[in-house]
Symmetry: C2
DNA sequence: AAAATCACAATAATCGATTTTCTCTTGACG
DNA sequence: CGTCAAGAGAAAATCGATTATTGTGATTTT
């Protein structure tokens, strides 16, 4: 029963493995570039070019791309290669609503069934997150201990007591997908000025108090705010 | 606004594309074998062997396997190759509970918000399903118009009015994962003797009546029954 | 001038050879 | 006896070459 701190790769960043294959390395690198929008949505991903850039063979790139397709970050069409999955505002709305639905579900279950272990993990995640200033959220890439990484860990800990692995997997998928929209919003001129700290704090306290209604509404407004910010950011994208 | 009957690839079987690349063909074939447990859970998938069997190169197989990893039907470990994702009873329970949670959510939304189009699609899916005897569920592989295919289409239609694409995607994922357990149960000596027809009928009628509570409980017991059958089937697997 | 056609360049898909990493066996050593 | 280590064999990962497809733009046809 692996419980607490191990390698402390909180989650968002690549799984524990310290890169055991070239393919994995390329996959991780591309993934980070996509998550942060350094590789913009819709961008063509020419295999030969990438192979040169990473100094590996075509096959390695191809397989890395296949994995990204699996993750939903890249799309492929037979005979027409790969491209970064496009983003659009309609998808973001769908994503956000689904996120609220799923996490509400999971959060309720966690609060109802979560034991001491859940509480401990949640507190730990919150303690770690609170110490990193939100300003660092713009860090180039997520890595162990980065704000993005701790942010994910916090939200994962919130629903970590629900007892349903599949639900948590979906939560993760949705979180990662949203990450790209967040990156987009951050790069926009309007920036994102928000008090993430107090939003998270409210969430944390309501959860620890097992106050379902407060927690659930805090969650919904937290995500609603994210949606608003991204919408504003996308509406006024930086000049080409 | 693509609405009604087109190619009528109801869903479970491979997407419309008539196999545009070798890789896609291998992927589809392996996928079908895994879904039906012709390739048993946990089975090693040696690349060279598969390449010979399908008469294609290593790369093609490798990429097909990568895609299956994405689908969750295959797992891979760097340097140690691929194997069919194992099944276990704990996962099935998780899967079933999550399924009930998610579909309940989606079904409620559909009933609350679904319009005439939703009703029409649902009726169409039900009419198609009711005409195929459940006995044919044992058909070797899902294909357009097979019971498995129509069964999926029916459940997809049920939640098709929820308005959340992500939720529907998850519904699909869960359905496909369950398909493997169903196959397992069918192959077991205890078989699965059940009145799927009336279970589906009850579901259909409650949904059309917009009777949320009845529909939701019908859904839960429908899946609960599936769980029970599979459990029985797995407990008494056919001899090695 | 617009549409259809053809040849060429660019890019993706596929292949089979080569290199690297694991795994299993055999035998020495504690 | 059980543990550990070296080495042969098997399998996976990687590579770069080859083949097939697509897209483009010039050329021809209506």
């Amino acid at each position: 029963m692996e419980t607490t701190a191990r390698t402390r790769s909180s989650g968002l960043t690549a799984p524990a493995a310290p890169v055991r294959s070239l393919t994995s390395a390329v996959h991780a690198s591309l993934r980070a570039d996509i998550l942060t929008c350094r590789l913009p949505p819709g961008e063509k991903l020419p295999i030969a070019l990438l192979a040169k850039r990473f100094d590996v063979s075509l096959s390695a790139v191809r397989e890395a791309l296949s994995r990204l397709v699996a993750d939903g970050f890249v799309i492929s069409e037979d005979q027409r290669g790969f491209r970064v999955t496009p983003l659009d505002i309609r998808d973001l709305e769908d994503l956000t609503r689904t996120r609220i639905e799923i996490e509400t579900l999971a959060l309720r279950r966690s609060m109802a069934e979560g034991g001491a272990e859940w509480e401990a993990n949640l507190r730990e995640a919150w303690d770690a997150l609170r110490q990193v200033p939100y300003a660092l959220a713009r860090q180039p890439a997520p890595h162990d201990g980065s704000w993005a990484d701790l942010h994910f860990a916090f939200h994962a800990a919130l629903v970590g007591g629900c007892g349903l692995n599949w639900l948590m997997r979906f939560q993760r998928t949705l979180f990662e997908q949203s990450e790209r929209y967040r990156a987009l919003a951050r790069s926009a001129p309007s920036g994102d000025e928000r008090d993430a700290h107090s939003e998270h704090l409210a969430l944390f306290e309501a959860a620890m108090d097992r106050d379902e209604e407060t927690a659930v509404s805090a969650l919904a407004s937290h995500y609603g705010r994210t949606l608003g910010l991204v919408r504003a950011g996308v509406a006024a994208p930086k000049a080409p």
